[in-house]
């Protein structure tokens, strides 16, 4: 029986439909290491479990619990696994990603245990009373901190918000035996991976993002966004107007009702900068905007703005980037 550190932080690591450990695992373990001793839980359908446990240790988990579940997307059973890990470890706090699957696991787990939830945190600190989460509210207009009245907080962390990384550890793995749960789950009839260009960084975790708006004009012309993204090594996003016009899939929508990103660099092409769009990107470190309308609100928050035609300016940028690389 493994003994767990008194200041253990239990970290739920998600696995993807593609059968990989989620990219945000290292940042969750990094956040946990800043406030205690990270203990990871990996729950997945059998085959890669051992490799996931080794990756978790390498990313800083001082102990890893593993559990075999039927499906990596059915959150009732994943919450059962988290429950068993929690009972065993008795951690100071539970950390999960604020991604679709993980946040549902967090919600189920908090309700079952009557624990306090801190949602969509951008950072985790601790004081003498325990872990404190910091948040950005109303699209970055306000910052708040939250804590539980008592007990271990369950904290979901915005993907891509934590820069700290933990030191790699030797794998120390404990396998959990799950008893049958009582929560009714839905049936998954078919699961399809979204087609993606694997060479391009994923939007949520990308350190650089290039987004396109209505100003791109058509699906064909939206290709310009991909060209600049590839020249910069950036992920691709879009405004709601571009998504509604069908230029790109909904998953790429940045903003109030889409993805919230906080990259090092955010480049907005042909995006006017409605409040709803700014809500999803104004916590970016550096913002660049290119738009032919000099009055577009995006320029009010841009660190560097160019008033001009994206179809003329972007090719200039790409050739200047290529010239720089060739030096």
């Amino acid at each position: 029986m493994t003994a767990f550190a008194a200041d253990s932080i239990l970290v739920f690591l998600e696995t993807t439909a593609a059968g990989e450990l989620a990219k945000n695992s290292a940042e969750l373990l990094g956040a946990a290491a800043g406030v205690g001793t990270p203990v990871a839980l990996v729950a997945a359908p059998g085959e890669h479990l051992e490799a996931f446990a080794a990756q978790a240790a390498q990313a800083g988990a001082s102990a890893v619990l593993s559990a075999v579940v039927e499906s990596a997307i059915l959150t009732g059973q994943l919450a059962d696994a988290l429950q068993q890990a929690y009972d065993l470890v008795q951690p100071h706090a539970v950390l999960l990603a604020h991604s679709l699957t993980s946040r549902e696991v967090a919600a189920r787990f908090a309700v079952r245990n009557k624990l306090a939830l801190s949602v969509d945190a951008l950072g985790v600190q601790r004081d003498e009373q325990g872990a404190i989460a910091s948040h950005s509210i109303y699209g970055g207009a306000f910052s708040t901190t939250s804590a539980p009245t008592f007990g271990a907080p369950v904290i979901t962390v915005r993907v891509g918000s934590i820069e700290a990384r933990a030191q790699g550890q030797e794998p120390a793995v404990t396998a959990l035996e799950l008893a049958g749960g009582t929560t009714p789950d839905i049936q998954v009839l078919d699961l399809k991976k979204a087609e993606s260009n694997s060479a391009r960084p994923e939007l949520r975790t990308a350190t650089k993002v290039v987004s396109g708006g209505r100003g791109l004009g058509s699906t064909e012309q939206f290709d310009l966004v991909y060209q600049l993204a590839d020249a910069l090594g950036a992920g691709v996003g879009a405004s709601r107007a571009a998504v509604d016009a069908g230029f790109i899939e909904h998953a790429a929508q940045v903003g109030q009702t889409g993805v919230a990103v906080s990259p090092q660099l955010y480049v907005a092409l042909g995006i006017s900068g409605a409040i709803q769009h700014k809500a999803g990107m104004q916590t970016a470190k550096t913002i660049v905007a290119i738009n032919k309308d000099g009055d577009a609100p995006i320029f009010e928050i841009a660190d560097f703005g160019i008033v001009g035609d994206v179809f003329k300016v972007v090719p200039q940028v790409i050739s200047a980037l290529e010239a720089r690389k060739a030096q």
């Binding site: 993807t16 593609a18 679709l100 404190i132 306000f142 998954v188 998953a251 409040i275 660190d303 720089r324």
Partner: protein, 258 residues
């Protein structure tokens, strides 16, 4: 079929929203309160089921102060049969778990075949309430659906995951949450607006529901600090003179971004 639709009044995302710096609560006077758009789309899903099957009865439920009656009345004008408002001073600043406990208690008073909600509100953006209700009511939860259909007591749909889509099904009763890929709501017509005036809005307190806002065994999440961030300031803005692209790359290089 009985359908419960959960809706929420939120500050309009098209205006500057504010938190009260003393209390940390939403400043309801700072911006106009509107029915959250995802809530309108959710109601539209229920109305389409009603269009196809006139035996359907739609109840809208919402937690909030008296100002939400306008929002509920709008939902009644669009076609819901009745509305439930949960209002209690002890719910001011309620966290997610308490909100879920309260809504679950209100839902337990009727046998609903389907509980519909939006996947995430535009103010809290937690995306957690539907599964919390699923836990409290021991129901299956089909969340984040971009397509939904119901036939012979079975719900089928397309579930939008990050990097994947799943075809799912579950027998009713169940909870479902929808994404904004589903269509926008219809406008209430004049007949609907007139009819809504006579439709009932039941108002429930915590005592009516038998829910304790602060039971000793339940931890709550509390806000410790709140601060307004200084607005971002504009930096260098230039007109494209044919050299702007090169200037941008110099700027990126100076900031170690290329």
């Amino acid at each position: 079929m009985k359908i419960a639709v959960l809706i929420k009044e939120v500050p309009d995302t098209g205006a500057d929203r504010a938190l009260n710096p003393q209390t940390g609560l939403a400043d309801r006077a700072a911006s106009e309160a509107v029915l959250d758009e995802i809530g309108e789309r959710t109601l539209e899903v229920a109305l389409k089921i009603l269009d196809a099957d006139p035996d359907t009865r739609i109840t809208v439920l919402s937690m909030g102060p008296d100002s939400i009656q306008a929002t509920l009345r709008k939902a009644l004008a669009m076609g819901a049969a009745d509305a439930v408002q949960i209002s209690d001073d002890a719910l001011i600043g309620a966290d997610l778990v308490l909100t879920a406990e309260v809504l679950a208690a209100a839902l337990r008073r009727e046998q609903y075949d389907l509980v519909l909600a939006g996947n995430m509100s535009t103010d809290g953006s937690a995306g957690m309430l539907p599964v919390m209700l699923a836990e409290l009511l021991s129901l299956p939860a089909a969340t984040s659906l971009s397509e939904i259909s119901i036939a012979d007591g079975v719900l089928r749909g397309t579930r939008e995951l990050e990097g994947a889509t799943a075809q799912i099904s579950t027998p009713l009763p169940a909870i479902a949450s929808i994404t904004e890929a589903l269509p926008d709501a219809r406008f209430p017509n004049f007949k609907g607006i007139m009819a809504a005036k006579k439709k009932p809005i039941e108002i429930l307190s915590l005592a009516d529901l038998g829910v304790d806002a602060l039971p000793a065994d339940t931890a709550r999440s509390i806000m410790l600090t709140v601060a307004q961030k200084p607005p971002r300031e504009a930096g260098t803005i230039m007109n494209d003179d044919g050299q702007a692209g090169a200037a941008l790359v110099d700027f990126l290089a100076k900031n170690n971004l290329v």
